[in-house]
């Protein structure tokens, strides 16, 4: 049950939304898509779901193209949230679940357990338009997962939620993963991807800029971050060999260095100059990688 995108390209007239994207998403893993607005994430999702046909390339899941015959195995949370405003939560979820091939009685059981999990059981018979935006979003999430999909596609699942609800939803996503669902999601927030995904893909103007397992990407990136807080000027370190980038902070300096060896020699260099309050060697963040690869930050 591997989801494979092979040389997928989508053009809208002159505009190329997705350009030669090839990725493999292993089963039961979580895969993150990162990218600025217009990078091609939603278009990619729509192609995976078969809502749009790719101009070139092939998308397969378990060596089969995804179409309406497999729609009962796929769950989708669109970026633009949308439910029937006038329909009751219960009717809504049951209808959408039935469209994905679930029996009404099953859907009701599943709905109950989700409502309990999100602590919103009292909304079962409320119309969606009466709910707050955060609660609507939870209902939207339930609509995407109620039929127990094997492949779950979440487009910006955490946007517009308060931190408590983000945690709640994160837990839900992780528990679905443990139950064996393959989950693909996109986010603006790098730390969500960093925390949750084994594999990721950073997209820039339709092209995959970075792609692979998170650990690999970090290791391949090689560079590390070195944070130094000291009571003497550190500006001279800017030109120290092996330092790629230096950013002064309130209490010291943040250096991007080529490897651990550089940190070692820097430490030797500055010891004795005065009191060093902090000397920390850190793994590069996804943001650093993004800035390096894409050229500018969007966070």
């Amino acid at each position: 049950m591997v989801l494979k995108l092979e040389h997928v390209t989508k053009r809208f007239g002159q505009f190329t939304a997705v350009d030669d994207l090839s990725i493999t998403i292993p089963e039961k893993e979580m895969f993150g898509f990162l990218g600025a607005n217009g990078a091609g994430k939603t278009t990619t999702f729509r192609m995976i779901l078969g809502l749009l046909d790719s101009t070139a390339g092939r998308i397969t899941w378990d060596d089969q193209p995804i179409d309406y015959s497999t729609s009962h195995l796929v769950g989708y949370l669109p970026e633009e949230r949308g439910l029937y405003p006038k329909l009751k939560v219960r009717d809504q979820i049951v209808y959408l679940a039935r469209l994905r091939g679930m029996q009404k009685s099953e859907a009701l059981i599943e709905l109950k357990s989700w409502l309990e999990r999100f602590k919103i059981t009292e909304y079962e018979n409320k119309r969606v338009e009466e709910l707050s935006k955060g609660n609507q979003q939870k209902i939207q999430f339930i609509a995407a997962v109620v039929h127990r999909p094997k492949l779950l596609i979440l487009d910006e699942p955490f946007s517009g939620l308060d931190p408590v609800n983000v945690e709640m939803l994160k837990d839900a996503v992780l528990s679905l993963k443990q139950k064996g669902a393959t989950i693909v999601f996109s986010s603006h927030q790098m730390h969500h991807v960093e925390e949750m995904c084994e594999h990721l893909c950073i997209m820039q103007k339709g092209k995959p800029v970075v792609h692979g397992a998170l650990k690999e990407i970090k290791r391949e990136f090689g560079k590390k971050n070195l944070m130094i807080h000291a009571e003497f000027p550190l500006d001279s370190l800017k030109n120290y060999p092996g330092v790629v980038k230096a950013t002064p902070t309130m209490e010291g300096i943040l250096l991007q260095i080529e490897g651990e060896r550089v940190a070692e020699s820097i430490l030797k260099e500055i010891v004795g100059n005065g009191f060093i309050r902090k000397f920390a060697l850190e793994e590069p963040s996804l943001n650093d990688i993004f800035i390096e690869k894409v050229g500018d930050s969007y966070e």
């Binding site: 779901l49 309406y68 989708y76 669109p78 329909l87």
Partner: protein, 417 residues
């Protein structure tokens, strides 16, 4: 259950439960009941059982009897009472409401009758027209006898000219049949016109609502847009048939119950007494085909707008087409064999109404009707294939613009290249 049927019944049941649908259905049923019981309703408001009392003051003493005789042949419901009292008292009776009016009969210098009619208001024109006609005849008779015309001569003078109409074509409808057909066709045309506009609107709104509330993206990821579009068209179609069936059952039941009283009035003239089955069958065929044609059009137009407010603007050209078809067929009611009508009956967007008009009013060869139906079916198929593609792209498009350029854009979205 297949997702097609789930959508179909979801659409159907949801619309069936809406307040607006229930209210319009109930109101229309009340109107149907009102129309079919019109005579009883008028009866309730007429205190004297439909009879009008008119007082007569006959100064001559000779005019009352012949006047009464003549009036009887014109309108049995007017009851005349001879008043011996003075004019003043008769007027008082009018004021009190005992009689509707008072008519004073007298002779002029030439010994011919003349009259003054007094009533509280002179709005009831049919009443005094009847009185006047009756008096006119009295006058004619008196004038005739004054110039010594024999009754036979008089009759000759007033005998209507014999004027017969024949249609040379075999099976052509007689004048009477044509009149009958006109009434029925008129009513059925109106039903087709009204339903097509109403239900096409409903479909466009339904699609636009799903799109503007953005639930569409979940829907099309579950079920193919084409399946959705047709499930929706059929669901609303089923709704329209339900509503029409309710009207027809109530109408038919009420009509058969009131047949006796209605036969005399409008319904008799326009031949609702014996409704030709063929016309009804054609009406159903053209209604269903017309519905599918415009519903398909409405569905894909609805898929192009992003906001509900834009729906009306988007489907206005479609509505105008329906209105144009209706206007042409109204013209055709008076002149169904005009070549203009024949030509427009083959234009698919007009066929449901105009071809039906021709079938109902004229005796046209069967192949013409079948050709019309064939053109209609072919157009529906083409429109459905085209519409389904636009729909598929249209539902993914969001933006301010809602012009017909969007059709091109929508088609581009679904293109493989």
């Amino acid at each position: 259950m297949n997702s097609f049927w789930i959508i179909l019944f979801h659409t159907y049941l949801n619309k069936l439960k809406t307040k607006s649908f229930i209210i319009t259905t109930v109101i229309t049923i009340l109107i149907v009941l009102g129309l079919t019981n019109i005579n009883s309703i008028i009866g309730v408001f007429d205190k004297n059982g439909g009879k009008e009392n008119v007082a007569v003051l006959d100064e001559t003493g000779q005019l009352y009897e012949p006047f009464k005789q003549q009036l009887k042949t014109i309108n049995k419901d007017i009851k005349l009472t001879l008043y011996k009292d003075s004019e003043k008292e008769a007027e008082k009776a009018v004021e009190k409401g005992d009689v509707k009016g008072v008519i004073q009969l007298r002779f002029n210098e030439e010994k011919l009758p003349e009259a003054t009619y007094k009533a509280m208001s002179i709005t009831d024109s049919s009443l005094f027209t009847d009185l006047q006609t009756a008096l006119q005849q009295v006058k004619t008779m008196r004038a005739a006898s004054q110039i010594n015309l024999a009754p036979a001569q008089l009759q000759k003078l007033y005998e209507p000219v014999s004027f017969e109409k024949f249609a040379l074509e075999k099976n052509a409808k007689t004048e009477e049949e044509l009149n009958q057909a006109r009434g029925l066709v008129y009513v059925l045309l109106f039903i087709i016109y009204f339903s097509v506009i109403m239900y096409a609107n409903m479909i466009a709104m339904e699609v636009a609502t799903e799109k503007s509330s953005r639930v569409m993206e979940i829907l099309i990821s579950s079920v193919s847009p084409i399946k959705q579009m047709f499930a929706k068209i059929l669901g609303i179609g089923l709704l329209s048939l339900t509503q029409l069936a309710a009207f027809l059952i109530v109408g038919y039941y009420s009509l058969t119950n009131n047949m006796e009283s209605l036969k005399e009035g409008f319904f008799g003239v326009y031949g609702f007494g014996d409704i030709p089955v063929g016309t009804i069958i054609y009406a159903v065929i053209f209604f269903i085909l017309g519905y599918f044609l415009y519903a398909t059009l409405a569905a894909f137009l609805g898929s192009l707008v992003s906001r509900i407010e834009d729906v009306q603007q988007m489907i206005t050209p479609m509505t105008l087409l329906v209105v144009a078809g209706f206007m042409i067929s109204m013209f055709g009611l008076g002149k169904p064999d005009a070549s203009f009508i024949t030509a427009t009956s083959y234009i698919p967007f007009f066929t449901p109404m105009i071809m039906f008009l021709r079938v109902g009013m004229l005796t046209i060869p069967a192949w013409e009707a079948i050709l019309g139906i064939f053109i209609l079916v072919a157009t529906i198929v083409v429109l459905a294939i085209f519409g389904a593609r636009v729909y598929r792209g249209g539902v993914l498009m969001y933006g301010k613009s809602n012009s017909y350029k969007d059709i091109k854009k929508a088609l581009q979205l679904t293109k493989n290249e």
